[in-house]
């Protein structure tokens, strides 16, 4: 059961986890990313490439499902304008094996936070705004999964 959604709307983490728990795997791991209000941030805008972004997320989810024995996995990613404290991204994985649930969850969130086709613009209290630049440290976190596969 692979469920991938790119959406503007908020989502309910408790309901998403309950759905994964109901699959009977016995173990459910999750990661939720939220907008931090650092440096007087008032808005984080997430821009997607309509169609391509969701296809890319589905591709990485399918790759995780091949790599780990999962009973199910859910990926939800929001786009559009978000304010501090709002959820951006959710990854939930269910498995009989807790290591499989935890590792696939870490794999997916590392990729989502680095390789996913999104662009972020930060707007601050003083009216300034800037597009976030890609970070080398994030690329390294995603890269270790490639290393592990070699």
């Amino acid at each position: 059961m692979i469920d991938v959604r790119v959406q503007r709307d908020a989502f309910d983490v408790g309901a998403e986890l309950a759905r994964l728990e109901a699959l009977g795997g016995g173990g459910v791991a999750s990661f939720t990313g939220l907008v931090r209000g650092d440096g007087d941030l008032v808005e984080l805008l997430l821009e997607q490439y309509p169609g391509m972004t969701e296809a890319a997320l589905r591709g990485i989810a399918e790759s995780a499902a091949r790599r780990w024995p999962l009973a199910g996995l859910t990926v939800i990613h929001r786009h559009g304008p978000l304010t501090p404290g709002e959820r951006i991204v959710f990854v939930g994985t269910a498995s009989r094996h807790r290591a499989a649930a935890l590792e696939s969850c870490a794999f997916l969130i590392d990729w989502l936070k680095t390789g996913a086709p999104f662009w972020k613009r930060e707007r601050f209290a003083d009216g300034t705004a800037r597009w976030v630049e890609a970070r080398a440290a994030d690329d390294a976190a995603a890269e270790r999964w490639n290393d592990a596969a070699r």
């Binding site: 490439y49 999104f118 613009r121």
Partner: protein
């Protein structure tokens, strides 16, 4: 050869629109050629495409290097490196 172009993030803002339909001449063989050709059309494109190291591209929704041939392509997107979610 009619092409749909899509722009994202600051590329979109610099050009002032989120896409356009173009019909480049035969001599435009690669994504980089396309950027050169568009840069010659007006100052906005020229400024947006000035630093090629900051640009990435997708041809028909697949990420490609800028020297990729565009023959047969229908949709080409130009954007900064993705920053993830």
């Amino acid at each position: 050869m009619a092409l749909d172009l899509l722009y994202f993030a600051w590329v979109r803002e610099a050009i002032g629109k989120d896409g356009e339909s173009v019909d480049p001449p035969e001599s435009v063989a690669t994504v980089a050629d396309l950027l050169d050709w568009l840069s010659a059309t007006d100052e906005d494109h020229n400024r947006a495409f000035a630093d090629r190291g900051r640009l990435r591209a997708a041809v028909d929704q697949a990420f490609v290097p800028l020297d990729t041939a565009i023959a047969g392509a229908r949709e080409i997107a130009i954007f900064p490196p993705v920053t993830g979610g």
